[in-house]
Protein backbone atom coordinates (compact mmCIF):
# COMPACT_ATOMS: atom_id res chain seq x y z
CA UNK A 1 0.00 0.00 0.00
CA UNK A 2 1.16 3.53 -0.74
CA UNK A 3 2.05 5.52 2.35
CA UNK A 4 -0.49 8.36 2.67
CA UNK A 5 0.55 11.46 4.56
CA UNK A 6 -1.88 14.09 3.33
CA UNK A 7 -5.14 12.60 4.52
CA UNK A 8 -5.45 14.89 7.57
CA UNK A 9 -4.79 17.93 5.40
CA UNK A 10 -7.39 16.84 2.86
CA UNK A 11 -9.94 16.34 5.62
CA UNK A 12 -9.12 19.77 7.01
CA UNK A 13 -9.63 21.40 3.62
CA UNK A 14 -13.00 19.70 3.30
CA UNK A 15 -13.98 20.93 6.73
CA UNK A 16 -12.76 24.46 6.05
CA UNK A 17 -14.70 24.64 2.83
CA UNK A 18 -17.89 23.52 4.57
CA UNK A 19 -17.48 26.21 7.22
CA UNK A 20 -16.86 28.95 4.67
CA UNK A 21 -19.85 27.81 2.64
CA UNK A 22 -22.10 27.79 5.68
CA UNK A 23 -20.94 31.25 6.70
CA UNK A 24 -21.68 32.69 3.29
CA UNK A 25 -25.09 31.05 3.20
CA UNK A 26 -25.82 32.42 6.66
CA UNK A 27 -24.77 35.92 5.59
CA UNK A 28 -27.10 35.82 2.62
CA UNK A 29 -30.00 34.56 4.68
CA UNK A 30 -29.46 37.13 7.43
CA UNK A 31 -29.40 39.93 4.89
CA UNK A 32 -32.67 38.81 3.36
CA UNK A 33 -34.32 38.24 6.72
CA UNK A 34 -33.26 41.60 8.14
CA UNK A 35 -34.55 43.25 5.00
CA UNK A 36 -37.93 41.59 5.38
CA UNK A 37 -37.99 42.33 9.08
CA UNK A 38 -37.11 45.96 8.54
CA UNK A 39 -39.80 46.41 5.88
CA UNK A 40 -42.33 44.58 8.05
CA UNK A 41 -41.81 46.63 11.19
CA UNK A 42 -42.06 49.81 9.15
CA UNK A 43 -44.77 48.94 6.71
CA UNK A 44 -46.79 45.87 7.66
CA UNK A 45 -49.41 47.79 9.67
CA UNK A 46 -49.99 50.04 6.68
CA UNK A 47 -51.19 47.22 4.41
CA UNK A 48 -54.96 46.97 4.38
CA UNK A 49 -57.83 46.94 1.92
CA UNK A 50 -57.79 50.72 1.57
CA UNK A 51 -54.08 50.76 0.79
CA UNK A 52 -54.62 48.30 -2.06
CA UNK A 53 -57.67 50.09 -3.48
CA UNK A 54 -56.70 53.75 -3.28
CA UNK A 55 -54.83 55.86 -5.77
CA UNK A 56 -51.70 57.74 -4.65
CA UNK A 57 -52.41 61.01 -2.89
CA UNK A 58 -50.75 64.12 -1.48
CA UNK A 59 -51.86 62.91 1.94
CA UNK A 60 -49.77 59.91 2.96
CA UNK A 61 -52.51 58.32 5.08
CA UNK A 62 -54.95 58.40 2.16
CA UNK A 63 -52.46 57.21 -0.45
CA UNK A 64 -52.69 53.71 -1.89
CA UNK A 65 -51.06 51.58 -4.53
CA UNK A 66 -54.00 50.70 -6.76
CA UNK A 67 -52.54 52.21 -9.92
CA UNK A 68 -49.13 50.73 -9.12
CA UNK A 69 -50.12 47.12 -8.68
CA UNK A 70 -52.55 47.23 -11.57
CA UNK A 71 -49.76 48.77 -13.65
CA UNK A 72 -47.25 46.12 -12.56
CA UNK A 73 -49.70 43.35 -13.37
CA UNK A 74 -50.56 44.72 -16.80
CA UNK A 75 -46.93 45.35 -17.70
CA UNK A 76 -45.99 41.82 -16.67
CA UNK A 77 -48.95 40.47 -18.62
CA UNK A 78 -47.78 42.18 -21.79
CA UNK A 79 -44.18 41.22 -21.13
CA UNK A 80 -45.20 37.57 -20.77
CA UNK A 81 -47.26 37.80 -23.93
CA UNK A 82 -44.23 38.94 -25.95
CA UNK A 83 -41.32 37.28 -24.27
CA UNK A 84 -42.52 33.75 -23.48
CA UNK A 85 -43.28 32.63 -27.04
CA UNK A 86 -40.37 34.57 -28.48
CA UNK A 87 -37.80 33.31 -25.97
CA UNK A 88 -38.88 29.68 -26.13
CA UNK A 89 -39.08 29.71 -29.91
CA UNK A 90 -35.63 31.26 -30.17
CA UNK A 91 -34.20 28.71 -27.75
CA UNK A 92 -35.74 25.82 -29.68
CA UNK A 93 -34.54 27.21 -32.97
CA UNK A 94 -30.97 27.63 -31.75
CA UNK A 95 -30.85 24.15 -30.21
CA UNK A 96 -32.83 22.09 -32.71
CA UNK A 97 -32.74 23.79 -36.09
CA UNK A 98 -29.88 26.29 -36.41
CA UNK A 99 -26.87 24.99 -38.29
CA UNK A 100 -23.67 25.36 -36.30
CA UNK A 101 -21.85 27.94 -38.36
CA UNK A 102 -20.24 31.34 -37.98
CA UNK A 103 -23.55 33.15 -38.11
CA UNK A 104 -25.27 31.11 -35.39
CA UNK A 105 -22.20 31.30 -33.14
CA UNK A 106 -22.25 35.07 -33.61
CA UNK A 107 -25.93 35.21 -32.59
CA UNK A 108 -25.35 32.98 -29.58
CA UNK A 109 -22.48 35.15 -28.40
CA UNK A 110 -24.63 38.25 -28.67
CA UNK A 111 -27.49 36.75 -26.72
CA UNK A 112 -25.12 36.03 -23.88
CA UNK A 113 -23.74 39.57 -24.12
CA UNK A 114 -27.25 40.98 -24.13
CA UNK A 115 -27.85 39.42 -20.73
CA UNK A 116 -25.00 41.50 -19.33
CA UNK A 117 -26.09 44.92 -20.58
CA UNK A 118 -27.21 47.36 -17.84
CA UNK A 119 -30.96 47.67 -17.83
CA UNK A 120 -30.91 51.46 -18.15
CA UNK A 121 -29.34 51.03 -21.58
CA UNK A 122 -32.43 49.09 -22.64
CA UNK A 123 -34.47 52.02 -21.31
CA UNK A 124 -32.57 54.52 -23.46
CA UNK A 125 -32.89 52.33 -26.52
CA UNK A 126 -36.62 51.93 -25.88
CA UNK A 127 -37.08 55.67 -25.41
CA UNK A 128 -35.53 56.31 -28.80
CA UNK A 129 -37.10 53.40 -30.65
CA UNK A 130 -40.47 52.50 -29.13
CA UNK A 131 -41.45 55.90 -27.72
CA UNK A 132 -40.25 58.27 -30.44
CA UNK A 133 -39.62 56.25 -33.61
CA UNK A 134 -42.60 53.89 -33.40
CA UNK A 135 -44.70 56.43 -31.46
CA UNK A 136 -45.93 53.94 -28.88
CA UNK A 137 -45.73 56.69 -26.28
CA UNK A 138 -44.91 56.32 -22.62
CA UNK A 139 -47.29 53.42 -22.45
CA UNK A 140 -47.81 49.98 -21.02
CA UNK A 141 -46.98 48.66 -24.49
CA UNK A 142 -43.59 50.35 -24.49
CA UNK A 143 -42.91 49.06 -20.98
CA UNK A 144 -43.87 45.50 -21.91
CA UNK A 145 -41.68 45.54 -25.00
CA UNK A 146 -38.73 47.04 -23.11
CA UNK A 147 -38.89 44.49 -20.31
CA UNK A 148 -39.33 41.73 -22.89
CA UNK A 149 -36.05 42.65 -24.52
CA UNK A 150 -34.41 42.90 -21.13
CA UNK A 151 -35.34 39.39 -20.00
CA UNK A 152 -35.40 37.68 -23.40
CA UNK A 153 -31.85 36.34 -23.02
CA UNK A 154 -32.75 34.69 -19.70
CA UNK A 155 -35.54 32.70 -21.31
CA UNK A 156 -33.48 31.81 -24.36
CA UNK A 157 -30.56 30.58 -22.29
CA UNK A 158 -32.66 28.56 -19.82
CA UNK A 159 -34.70 27.06 -22.65
CA UNK A 160 -31.54 25.92 -24.39
CA UNK A 161 -30.13 24.48 -21.21
CA UNK A 162 -33.35 22.58 -20.49
CA UNK A 163 -33.39 21.20 -24.03
CA UNK A 164 -29.77 20.12 -23.80
CA UNK A 165 -30.49 17.79 -20.91
CA UNK A 166 -32.58 15.55 -23.19
CA UNK A 167 -30.44 12.59 -24.27
CA UNK A 168 -29.75 12.35 -27.98
CA UNK A 169 -30.78 8.68 -27.85
CA UNK A 170 -34.37 9.76 -27.16
CA UNK A 171 -34.38 11.98 -30.24
CA UNK A 172 -32.92 9.17 -32.31
CA UNK A 173 -35.62 6.80 -31.06
CA UNK A 174 -38.31 9.22 -32.25
CA UNK A 175 -36.65 10.01 -35.57
CA UNK A 176 -36.12 6.29 -36.07
CA UNK A 177 -39.87 5.76 -35.93
CA UNK A 178 -40.36 8.27 -38.71
CA UNK A 179 -41.09 11.40 -36.71
CA UNK A 180 -40.49 14.75 -38.34
CA UNK A 181 -38.36 17.40 -36.67
CA UNK A 182 -41.42 19.26 -35.47
CA UNK A 183 -43.00 16.06 -34.10
CA UNK A 184 -39.85 15.35 -32.16
CA UNK A 185 -40.00 18.85 -30.69
CA UNK A 186 -43.74 18.75 -30.00
CA UNK A 187 -43.91 15.24 -28.56
CA UNK A 188 -40.55 14.99 -26.82
CA UNK A 189 -38.32 18.03 -26.62
CA UNK A 190 -40.94 20.45 -25.28
CA UNK A 191 -42.67 18.12 -22.80
CA UNK A 192 -39.41 16.83 -21.34
CA UNK A 193 -37.87 20.27 -20.97
CA UNK A 194 -40.98 22.15 -19.89
CA UNK A 195 -40.01 22.07 -16.20
CA UNK A 196 -36.73 23.83 -16.93
CA UNK A 197 -38.29 26.21 -19.41
CA UNK A 198 -41.06 27.27 -17.02
CA UNK A 199 -38.53 27.83 -14.27
CA UNK A 200 -36.62 30.11 -16.63
CA UNK A 201 -39.80 31.95 -17.55
CA UNK A 202 -40.58 32.64 -13.93
CA UNK A 203 -37.06 33.76 -13.10
CA UNK A 204 -37.28 36.12 -16.05
CA UNK A 205 -40.67 37.48 -15.00
CA UNK A 206 -39.63 38.03 -11.40
CA UNK A 207 -36.65 39.95 -12.71
CA UNK A 208 -38.96 42.05 -14.89
CA UNK A 209 -41.42 42.81 -12.12
CA UNK A 210 -38.72 44.46 -10.00
CA UNK A 211 -37.14 46.55 -12.77
CA UNK A 212 -37.29 50.31 -12.27
CA UNK A 213 -34.53 52.06 -14.19
CA UNK A 214 -35.61 51.30 -17.77
CA UNK A 215 -39.22 52.18 -16.99
CA UNK A 216 -38.27 55.54 -15.50
CA UNK A 217 -36.16 56.14 -18.59
CA UNK A 218 -39.03 55.53 -20.97
CA UNK A 219 -41.11 57.92 -18.88
CA UNK A 220 -43.37 55.89 -16.65
CA UNK A 221 -45.23 58.36 -14.47
CA UNK A 222 -44.68 58.46 -10.75
CA UNK A 223 -48.08 59.83 -9.87
CA UNK A 224 -51.08 58.22 -11.50
CA UNK A 225 -54.60 58.69 -10.19
CA UNK A 226 -56.49 56.70 -12.79
CA UNK A 227 -56.61 53.17 -14.15
CA UNK A 228 -56.03 52.19 -17.76
CA UNK A 229 -59.26 52.00 -19.77
CA UNK A 230 -61.29 48.89 -19.08
CA UNK A 231 -60.99 46.63 -22.13
CA UNK A 232 -64.57 45.45 -21.65
CA UNK A 233 -65.97 48.99 -21.42
CA UNK A 234 -68.35 50.06 -24.16
CA UNK A 235 -66.86 53.35 -25.24
CA UNK A 236 -63.35 52.18 -26.18
CA UNK A 237 -61.46 49.56 -28.12
CA UNK A 238 -60.43 46.35 -26.46
CA UNK A 239 -56.73 47.18 -26.75
CA UNK A 240 -56.82 50.85 -25.66
CA UNK A 241 -55.28 49.94 -22.32
CA UNK A 242 -51.95 49.06 -23.84
CA UNK A 243 -51.42 52.71 -24.86
CA UNK A 244 -52.30 54.06 -21.45
CA UNK A 245 -49.71 55.78 -19.22
CA UNK A 246 -48.85 53.73 -16.17
CA UNK A 247 -46.80 53.34 -13.05
CA UNK A 248 -45.48 50.18 -11.40
CA UNK A 249 -44.79 49.12 -7.83
CA UNK A 250 -41.03 49.79 -7.73
CA UNK A 251 -41.50 53.25 -9.21
CA UNK A 252 -44.24 54.07 -6.72
CA UNK A 253 -41.91 52.92 -3.99
CA UNK A 254 -39.02 54.95 -5.33
CA UNK A 255 -41.23 58.00 -5.50
CA UNK A 256 -42.36 57.71 -1.90
CA UNK A 257 -38.89 57.03 -0.56
CA UNK A 258 -37.65 60.25 -2.09
CA UNK A 259 -40.29 62.37 -0.29
CA UNK A 260 -39.21 64.21 2.86
CA UNK A 261 -42.25 63.24 5.01
CA UNK A 262 -41.61 60.09 7.01
CA UNK A 263 -45.26 58.94 6.59
CA UNK A 264 -44.51 58.38 2.94
CA UNK A 265 -41.57 56.19 3.91
CA UNK A 266 -44.03 53.94 5.71
CA UNK A 267 -46.01 53.68 2.48
CA UNK A 268 -42.81 52.85 0.63
CA UNK A 269 -42.02 50.05 3.06
CA UNK A 270 -45.51 48.63 2.66
CA UNK A 271 -45.16 48.75 -1.14
CA UNK A 272 -41.81 47.03 -0.84
CA UNK A 273 -43.45 44.24 1.13
CA UNK A 274 -46.09 43.73 -1.54
CA UNK A 275 -43.41 43.64 -4.23
CA UNK A 276 -41.36 41.17 -2.22
CA UNK A 277 -44.43 39.03 -1.73
CA UNK A 278 -45.11 39.00 -5.48
CA UNK A 279 -41.54 37.94 -6.20
CA UNK A 280 -41.63 35.23 -3.55
CA UNK A 281 -44.91 33.89 -4.90
CA UNK A 282 -43.43 33.73 -8.40
CA UNK A 283 -40.39 31.90 -7.08
CA UNK A 284 -42.52 29.48 -5.10
CA UNK A 285 -44.42 28.69 -8.28
CA UNK A 286 -41.11 28.09 -10.05
CA UNK A 287 -39.95 25.69 -7.35
CA UNK A 288 -43.25 23.87 -7.38
CA UNK A 289 -43.20 23.46 -11.15
CA UNK A 290 -39.64 22.21 -11.14
CA UNK A 291 -40.47 19.69 -8.45
CA UNK A 292 -43.54 18.42 -10.30
CA UNK A 293 -41.75 17.93 -13.60
CA UNK A 294 -38.49 16.53 -12.24
CA UNK A 295 -40.37 13.86 -10.39
CA UNK A 296 -42.19 12.64 -13.45
CA UNK A 297 -39.31 12.33 -15.88
CA UNK A 298 -36.69 9.63 -15.54
CA UNK A 299 -34.41 8.64 -18.36
Amino acid sequence: MIEVSNLTIRKWIDFLFQIVGLLILFLALVTLLSLILDLSTKGLHRIDWAFMTHFPSRFPERAGILSAWVGSLLVILLTSFFVIPLGIAAGIYLEEYAPKNFFSTFIELNIVNLAGIPSITFGLMALGFFVYTLNFGQSILTAGLTLSLLVLPIIIVTTREAIRTIPQTIREAAFGLGASRWQVIQHHVLPYSSGGILTGVIIALSRAIGETAPLITIGALTFIAFLPPNPLGTDQNFYDWIFSPFTVLPIQMFNWVSRPQSEFHVNAAATGLILLLLTLVLNAVAIFIRFRFRRRIKW
Partner: protein, 260 residues
Protein backbone atom coordinates in the same frame (compact mmCIF):
# COMPACT_ATOMS: atom_id res chain seq x y z
CA UNK B 1 -22.62 -21.25 -53.06
CA UNK B 2 -25.72 -23.28 -53.78
CA UNK B 3 -27.27 -22.11 -50.57
CA UNK B 4 -26.63 -18.48 -51.42
CA UNK B 5 -28.28 -18.90 -54.79
CA UNK B 6 -31.37 -20.36 -53.20
CA UNK B 7 -32.30 -17.12 -51.49
CA UNK B 8 -32.22 -14.79 -54.42
CA UNK B 9 -35.34 -12.98 -53.23
CA UNK B 10 -33.74 -9.81 -51.97
CA UNK B 11 -35.23 -7.27 -49.63
CA UNK B 12 -32.35 -4.90 -50.05
CA UNK B 13 -29.04 -4.68 -51.82
CA UNK B 14 -26.08 -2.57 -50.75
CA UNK B 15 -24.03 -1.60 -53.79
CA UNK B 16 -20.60 0.02 -53.62
CA UNK B 17 -21.54 1.91 -50.47
CA UNK B 18 -18.98 4.26 -49.00
CA UNK B 19 -19.61 6.52 -46.07
CA UNK B 20 -17.61 9.21 -44.34
CA UNK B 21 -17.86 11.30 -41.20
CA UNK B 22 -16.30 14.55 -42.43
CA UNK B 23 -13.03 13.59 -44.08
CA UNK B 24 -12.89 10.25 -42.34
CA UNK B 25 -13.95 7.43 -44.63
CA UNK B 26 -15.45 4.77 -42.42
CA UNK B 27 -17.16 2.47 -44.94
CA UNK B 28 -15.25 1.52 -48.06
CA UNK B 29 -17.07 0.17 -51.06
CA UNK B 30 -19.41 -2.16 -49.22
CA UNK B 31 -21.50 -4.73 -51.12
CA UNK B 32 -24.08 -6.72 -49.23
CA UNK B 33 -27.31 -8.46 -50.27
CA UNK B 34 -30.06 -8.62 -47.64
CA UNK B 35 -32.36 -11.60 -48.18
CA UNK B 36 -36.10 -11.26 -47.66
CA UNK B 37 -37.48 -12.56 -44.37
CA UNK B 38 -34.09 -13.75 -43.23
CA UNK B 39 -31.71 -12.63 -40.52
CA UNK B 40 -28.45 -11.11 -41.67
CA UNK B 41 -25.75 -10.71 -39.02
CA UNK B 42 -22.97 -8.12 -39.17
CA UNK B 43 -19.87 -9.13 -37.25
CA UNK B 44 -16.39 -7.71 -36.92
CA UNK B 45 -14.03 -6.15 -34.42
CA UNK B 46 -14.92 -2.97 -32.56
CA UNK B 47 -14.71 0.15 -34.69
CA UNK B 48 -14.95 -1.66 -38.03
CA UNK B 49 -18.11 0.21 -39.03
CA UNK B 50 -21.01 -2.12 -38.21
CA UNK B 51 -23.11 0.52 -36.48
CA UNK B 52 -22.26 3.01 -39.18
CA UNK B 53 -23.46 0.62 -41.88
CA UNK B 54 -26.65 -0.18 -39.98
CA UNK B 55 -27.45 3.50 -39.53
CA UNK B 56 -27.15 4.06 -43.29
CA UNK B 57 -30.23 1.89 -43.79
CA UNK B 58 -32.52 4.32 -41.97
CA UNK B 59 -30.60 7.47 -42.83
CA UNK B 60 -29.80 8.16 -39.15
CA UNK B 61 -26.62 9.89 -40.27
CA UNK B 62 -28.71 12.60 -41.89
CA UNK B 63 -29.36 14.01 -38.41
CA UNK B 64 -25.73 15.05 -38.16
CA UNK B 65 -23.85 17.43 -40.34
CA UNK B 66 -20.93 16.64 -42.64
CA UNK B 67 -21.82 13.00 -43.14
CA UNK B 68 -21.56 11.73 -46.66
CA UNK B 69 -22.89 8.68 -48.51
CA UNK B 70 -21.75 7.29 -51.84
CA UNK B 71 -23.13 4.33 -53.73
CA UNK B 72 -26.59 2.81 -53.37
CA UNK B 73 -28.76 0.85 -50.99
CA UNK B 74 -31.65 -0.46 -53.03
CA UNK B 75 -34.85 -1.38 -51.23
CA UNK B 76 -37.02 -4.06 -52.89
CA UNK B 77 -39.66 -4.55 -54.16
CA UNK B 78 -39.93 -0.76 -54.62
CA UNK B 79 -36.50 -0.61 -56.20
CA UNK B 80 -35.75 2.77 -54.63
CA UNK B 81 -32.33 3.91 -53.51
CA UNK B 82 -32.58 4.50 -49.76
CA UNK B 83 -29.62 6.85 -49.57
CA UNK B 84 -30.57 9.00 -52.53
CA UNK B 85 -30.47 12.64 -51.49
CA UNK B 86 -33.77 13.10 -53.32
CA UNK B 87 -35.54 10.71 -50.97
CA UNK B 88 -36.81 12.19 -47.72
CA UNK B 89 -35.19 10.35 -44.79
CA UNK B 90 -38.57 10.34 -43.02
CA UNK B 91 -40.00 8.15 -45.79
CA UNK B 92 -37.11 5.74 -45.34
CA UNK B 93 -37.56 5.59 -41.56
CA UNK B 94 -41.26 4.85 -41.95
CA UNK B 95 -40.33 1.64 -43.77
CA UNK B 96 -37.26 0.65 -41.76
CA UNK B 97 -37.37 0.28 -37.98
CA UNK B 98 -34.41 0.38 -35.65
CA UNK B 99 -33.60 -0.89 -32.17
CA UNK B 100 -30.59 0.66 -30.54
CA UNK B 101 -27.80 -0.80 -28.46
CA UNK B 102 -29.02 0.80 -25.24
CA UNK B 103 -32.76 0.58 -24.53
CA UNK B 104 -34.17 4.06 -25.12
CA UNK B 105 -37.85 4.14 -24.18
CA UNK B 106 -39.48 7.55 -24.08
CA UNK B 107 -40.20 8.79 -20.54
CA UNK B 108 -43.88 8.17 -21.21
CA UNK B 109 -46.22 5.28 -20.53
CA UNK B 110 -45.68 1.82 -21.96
CA UNK B 111 -48.69 2.25 -24.20
CA UNK B 112 -47.53 5.65 -25.46
CA UNK B 113 -44.21 4.04 -26.31
CA UNK B 114 -45.57 1.16 -28.41
CA UNK B 115 -48.09 3.32 -30.17
CA UNK B 116 -45.77 6.23 -30.90
CA UNK B 117 -44.99 5.15 -34.47
CA UNK B 118 -48.72 5.08 -35.22
CA UNK B 119 -49.23 8.50 -33.67
CA UNK B 120 -46.45 9.90 -35.84
CA UNK B 121 -48.25 8.53 -38.90
CA UNK B 122 -51.37 10.41 -37.94
CA UNK B 123 -53.39 7.32 -37.08
CA UNK B 124 -56.21 8.28 -34.70
CA UNK B 125 -58.50 5.25 -34.59
CA UNK B 126 -58.08 4.01 -31.05
CA UNK B 127 -59.30 0.45 -31.63
CA UNK B 128 -56.74 0.06 -34.42
CA UNK B 129 -53.98 1.52 -32.26
CA UNK B 130 -54.91 -0.77 -29.39
CA UNK B 131 -54.90 -3.89 -31.57
CA UNK B 132 -51.62 -3.00 -33.20
CA UNK B 133 -49.96 -2.24 -29.88
CA UNK B 134 -51.17 -5.46 -28.35
CA UNK B 135 -50.00 -7.47 -31.34
CA UNK B 136 -46.57 -5.81 -31.28
CA UNK B 137 -46.19 -6.41 -27.55
CA UNK B 138 -47.16 -10.04 -28.06
CA UNK B 139 -44.64 -10.40 -30.89
CA UNK B 140 -41.98 -8.95 -28.62
CA UNK B 141 -42.94 -11.39 -25.88
CA UNK B 142 -43.78 -8.61 -23.47
CA UNK B 143 -47.57 -8.65 -23.45
CA UNK B 144 -48.05 -10.99 -20.50
CA UNK B 145 -45.73 -8.92 -18.34
CA UNK B 146 -47.22 -5.51 -19.10
CA UNK B 147 -50.85 -6.03 -20.06
CA UNK B 148 -52.04 -4.85 -16.64
CA UNK B 149 -49.75 -1.86 -16.44
CA UNK B 150 -49.86 -0.33 -19.90
CA UNK B 151 -50.26 3.13 -18.48
CA UNK B 152 -47.32 3.02 -16.15
CA UNK B 153 -44.06 4.71 -17.12
CA UNK B 154 -41.89 2.67 -19.46
CA UNK B 155 -38.84 3.60 -17.42
CA UNK B 156 -40.17 1.49 -14.55
CA UNK B 157 -39.50 -1.66 -16.60
CA UNK B 158 -36.31 -3.69 -16.27
CA UNK B 159 -33.55 -3.29 -18.84
CA UNK B 160 -34.56 -6.42 -20.75
CA UNK B 161 -38.22 -5.46 -20.70
CA UNK B 162 -37.32 -1.97 -21.92
CA UNK B 163 -35.40 -3.45 -24.83
CA UNK B 164 -38.33 -5.69 -25.74
CA UNK B 165 -40.55 -2.63 -25.51
CA UNK B 166 -38.25 -0.87 -27.98
CA UNK B 167 -38.57 -3.87 -30.29
CA UNK B 168 -42.35 -3.80 -29.95
CA UNK B 169 -42.31 -0.06 -30.64
CA UNK B 170 -40.45 -0.69 -33.88
CA UNK B 171 -42.69 -3.64 -34.85
CA UNK B 172 -45.96 -1.78 -34.31
CA UNK B 173 -45.44 0.12 -37.55
CA UNK B 174 -44.94 -3.01 -39.68
CA UNK B 175 -41.41 -2.20 -40.83
CA UNK B 176 -40.09 -3.83 -43.99
CA UNK B 177 -36.67 -4.19 -42.40
CA UNK B 178 -35.80 -4.24 -38.70
CA UNK B 179 -32.33 -3.05 -37.76
CA UNK B 180 -30.94 -4.31 -34.46
CA UNK B 181 -27.71 -2.82 -33.12
CA UNK B 182 -26.32 -5.17 -30.48
CA UNK B 183 -29.78 -5.44 -28.97
CA UNK B 184 -28.66 -7.72 -26.14
CA UNK B 185 -25.33 -6.19 -25.21
CA UNK B 186 -26.78 -4.56 -22.09
CA UNK B 187 -28.84 -7.55 -21.00
CA UNK B 188 -28.54 -10.57 -18.74
CA UNK B 189 -28.52 -14.12 -20.19
CA UNK B 190 -32.24 -14.70 -19.62
CA UNK B 191 -33.34 -11.52 -21.35
CA UNK B 192 -30.84 -12.28 -24.09
CA UNK B 193 -32.31 -15.73 -24.66
CA UNK B 194 -35.75 -14.11 -24.76
CA UNK B 195 -34.72 -11.69 -27.45
CA UNK B 196 -32.88 -14.29 -29.48
CA UNK B 197 -35.99 -16.46 -29.53
CA UNK B 198 -37.97 -13.42 -30.55
CA UNK B 199 -35.63 -12.73 -33.46
CA UNK B 200 -36.03 -16.27 -34.75
CA UNK B 201 -39.82 -16.05 -34.37
CA UNK B 202 -40.00 -12.72 -36.18
CA UNK B 203 -38.20 -14.03 -39.22
CA UNK B 204 -41.34 -15.20 -40.94
CA UNK B 205 -42.73 -11.66 -41.04
CA UNK B 206 -39.86 -9.22 -41.17
CA UNK B 207 -36.37 -8.95 -42.60
CA UNK B 208 -33.78 -8.44 -39.89
CA UNK B 209 -30.26 -7.03 -39.94
CA UNK B 210 -28.48 -7.52 -36.63
CA UNK B 211 -25.12 -6.27 -35.39
CA UNK B 212 -23.58 -8.44 -32.74
CA UNK B 213 -20.30 -8.98 -30.94
CA UNK B 214 -21.45 -12.34 -29.73
CA UNK B 215 -20.43 -14.87 -32.36
CA UNK B 216 -22.53 -17.58 -30.77
CA UNK B 217 -25.49 -15.31 -31.07
CA UNK B 218 -24.76 -14.69 -34.74
CA UNK B 219 -24.48 -18.43 -35.26
CA UNK B 220 -27.72 -19.10 -33.40
CA UNK B 221 -30.01 -16.53 -34.94
CA UNK B 222 -28.77 -15.60 -38.39
CA UNK B 223 -29.11 -17.11 -41.84
CA UNK B 224 -26.29 -15.20 -43.43
CA UNK B 225 -23.34 -13.41 -41.93
CA UNK B 226 -21.15 -10.57 -43.11
CA UNK B 227 -17.69 -10.08 -41.65
CA UNK B 228 -16.38 -6.53 -41.71
CA UNK B 229 -12.92 -5.29 -40.97
CA UNK B 230 -11.67 -1.68 -40.95
CA UNK B 231 -14.62 -0.45 -42.96
CA UNK B 232 -14.44 -3.13 -45.60
CA UNK B 233 -16.68 -6.07 -46.28
CA UNK B 234 -14.24 -8.96 -46.00
CA UNK B 235 -16.57 -11.87 -46.48
CA UNK B 236 -20.25 -12.58 -46.85
CA UNK B 237 -21.93 -15.95 -46.90
CA UNK B 238 -24.41 -18.20 -45.22
CA UNK B 239 -23.86 -18.30 -41.51
CA UNK B 240 -23.09 -21.96 -41.79
CA UNK B 241 -20.41 -21.39 -44.38
CA UNK B 242 -18.80 -18.40 -42.57
CA UNK B 243 -18.51 -20.31 -39.34
CA UNK B 244 -17.47 -23.69 -40.70
CA UNK B 245 -15.62 -22.91 -43.85
CA UNK B 246 -14.47 -19.27 -44.10
CA UNK B 247 -12.78 -18.41 -47.35
CA UNK B 248 -10.68 -15.54 -46.03
CA UNK B 249 -7.81 -15.79 -43.60
CA UNK B 250 -9.02 -12.69 -41.68
CA UNK B 251 -12.49 -14.15 -41.22
CA UNK B 252 -11.06 -17.37 -39.94
CA UNK B 253 -8.77 -15.58 -37.51
CA UNK B 254 -11.68 -13.55 -36.20
CA UNK B 255 -14.15 -16.36 -35.68
CA UNK B 256 -11.56 -18.57 -34.08
CA UNK B 257 -10.82 -15.77 -31.64
CA UNK B 258 -7.30 -15.02 -32.76
CA UNK B 259 -8.03 -11.27 -32.95
CA UNK B 260 -10.80 -8.76 -32.55
Amino acid sequence: MVEILKKEILRSDVRNLSFSYGDKKVLKNINLPIADNKVTALIGPSGCGKTTLLRCFNRMHDLYKSTHYEGEIILFPEGINIISAKLDPIEVRMKIGMVFQKPNPFPKSIFENVSYGLKVRGIRKSSFIKDKSEKALKQAGLWEEVKDRLHQPATSLSGGQQQRLCIARALATDPEILLLDEPTSALDPISTAHIEKLIVDLKSTVTIVIVTHNLHQAARVSDSTAFMYLGEMVEFGTTNQIFTNPQQKRTENYITGRFG
